[in-house]
């Protein structure tokens, strides 16, 4: 009931959300010639580097297969990382706005994600093209992608919700998070397959929502069996993180402006 009221208020500002997203998108790559191409180059460069490493250490022999493998992990991972890093700092970046205009603050978070999401979509389109050239089959399992993205965004936004208050009140946390979040890549199957994890750790590992997201992506693109139970578990975990975060955020959203 309370949430419905809250989101009705947010809906009133939908045009503001659009223009703020546009403003974030435009200022991100202002005065560049390649523009938003820079945003999508990052996952491709990193994937290529890991692919070359994989070839050197004989993890895989086929360049393209390994590249697609790494890219299917890298794209959702970069979306996750950029979302957390950008939206948890949105109070600091928009301090001027927060001190002068009243609107549901969640709009700042969504608008800060919008440009990152566009980057992801372009990268995703390229991944689709590559995988279609390799194997021209369109399978029904592609319909699973929106669900996987939902899990991804739920987790990322939920975590940002929780970080906003400490980041705004104690700036040390900001630097801490900038160092910690990139390390999450190593406890997620971005550059390796989760089949590398064995025994009792696998159970703990599977509670990381990034595992079902990335494994789901790989299953869809390689036309393998979908790990349904894993995805279900990821969905539940991400929904818990999101709604708990939302609760904390809505409780605090207006009390933070004194420290900006």
């Amino acid at each position: 009931m309370f949430l419905i009221k809250y989101f009705r208020e947010v809906y009133k500002f939908k045009d503001f959300l659009y223009f703020l997203s546009l403003s974030n998108f435009k200022s991100q790559f202002s005065q560049t010639e390649l523009g938003f191409l820079w945003g999508i180059l990052n996952p491709f460069f990193t994937s290529f580097a890991f692919t070359v490493l994989g070839l050197i250490y004989h993890v895989s022999d086929d360049l393209i297969t390994h590249f697609v493998f790494t890219l299917t992990g890298m794209l959702p991972w970069v979306l996750f990382k950029e979302t957390v890093l950008n939206s948890s700092e949105c109070y600091l970046k928009n301090a001027n706005l927060i001190k002068k205009v009243k609107f549901p603050r969640i709009i700042l978070i969504i608008a800060s994600i919008a440009p990152k999401f566009v980057d992801f979509l372009v990268g995703f389109a390229i991944l689709l093209i590559i995988s279609f050239i390799r194997n021209p089959v369109i399978s029904i399992s592609f319909l699973l992608i929106p669900l996987l993205l939902l899990i991804n965004m739920f987790t990322a936004i939920g975590i940002s919700f929780l970080f906003i208050k400490p980041i705004t009140n104690l700036r040390d946390v900001r630097f801490l998070i900038r160092h910690i979040i990139p390390l999450v890549m190593f406890i997620s199957p971005v550059v390796y397959s989760s089949s590398a994890i064995h025994g009792k750790w696998l159970e703990v590992y599977s509670y990381n929502p990034l595992v079902p997201i990335i494994e789901g992506f790989r299953a869809v693109f390689n036309h393998n069996a979908i790990p349904w139970f894993l995805i279900f578990k990821g969905f539940v975990v991400s929904a818990i993180i999101f709604f708990f975060g939302l609760f904390v955020f809505v409780k605090n959203e207006n009390s933070l402006s004194d420290n900006l």
Binding site: K12, F13, D15, F16, Y18, F19, L20, L22, S23, K26, S27, S30, N96, L97, I98, K99, K100, V101, K102, F103, N169, L170, N254, S255, S257, D258
Partner: protein, 247 residues
């Protein structure tokens, strides 16, 4: 009819002290416990004390006071940007405050896009702005509306910001330092526009300003503030007299 009522409003800010010898661990500990009780990191600053005010329909209230008197903090609390430390704000009307102008301008967008960004931030819909965009641009008298804002002068930004004010719909409108920037010609134009706006029925206008002549011209009542308290509340002529004597 009362549109906005402030009851016993007080506001205390907790300022961070610079380290002053406290050890790192004590600081960390004080962050986990409530920083208000440990009194290690914070110093109190009382911005407002026991403010009681009532605003009525068709009233144009001016608020004066020297820098640091608490005028903007009061406007902030009325608008709802910050919560008062104690006391409450009672209103059933929509309320919007404009602090300077162009608070959400983005230098990378064009003048036209900035009109949309600002307007929608104050709750207008894109359609409403579409309907008035030509009037807004005409009022601002900016010819290069489709170039990026970073190439604008400060005066041009102020013009662009003010041009929106006539189209913002709210029962209670607070203007804080409304006419900063802009040349004498444009200021005159703004004052004429303000005079037109304040004739709207059943609205309340609150104008925070240092300009005695502006307040004298527009207001029906003036409040003089000093050190977070209301010193004087009366008709414009005697309030300004009091303010001048008090300086």
């Amino acid at each position: 009819m009362v549109t906005l009522e402030l009851q016993d409003i007080s506001k205390t800010f907790f300022l961070r002290k610079e380290s002053n010898g406290a050890s790192f661990f004590k600081k960390i500990r004080s962050f986990f416990y409530s920083s208000k009780t440990t009194n290690l990191l914070t110093k109190e600053f009382i911005a407002l004390e026991n403010i009681n005010l009532k605003f009525h329909e068709n009233e144009i209230v001016g608020i004066m006071g020297i820098n640091g008197a608490g005028k903007s903090t009061l406007a902030n609390i009325m608008y709802g940007l910050t919560k008062p430390s104690s006391g409450c704000v009672i209103t059933h009307r929509t309320i919007i405050a404009l602090f300077g102008f162009g608070s959400c301008f983005n230098n990378e967008l064009t003048g036209r896009e900035n009109i949309y960004l600002n307007g929608t931030a104050y709750g207008l819909s894109k359609k409403q702005i579409d309907n008035h965009i030509d009037e807004i641009i005409a009022f601002s008298e900016i010819e290069e509306i489709d170039i990026q804002l970073k190439f604008y002068s400060n005066g041009m930004k102020a013009r662009l910001g003010f041009s929106l004010v006539a189209y913002i719909e709210s029962d209670i409108l607070i203007l804080d330092e409304a006419l900063v920037g802009g040349d004498a010609y444009f200021q005159k134009k703004c004052i004429a526009k303000l005079k037109e706006i304040i004739t709207r029925p059943n609205k309340t206008f609150i104008i925070v300003s240092h300009s005695e002549s502006l307040l004298k011209e527009l207001c029906t009542k003036i409040i003089v503030m000093k050190k977070g308290k209301i010193e004087f509340e009366s008709d414009p002529v005697s309030a300004i007299e009091f303010y001048k004597k008090d300086l």
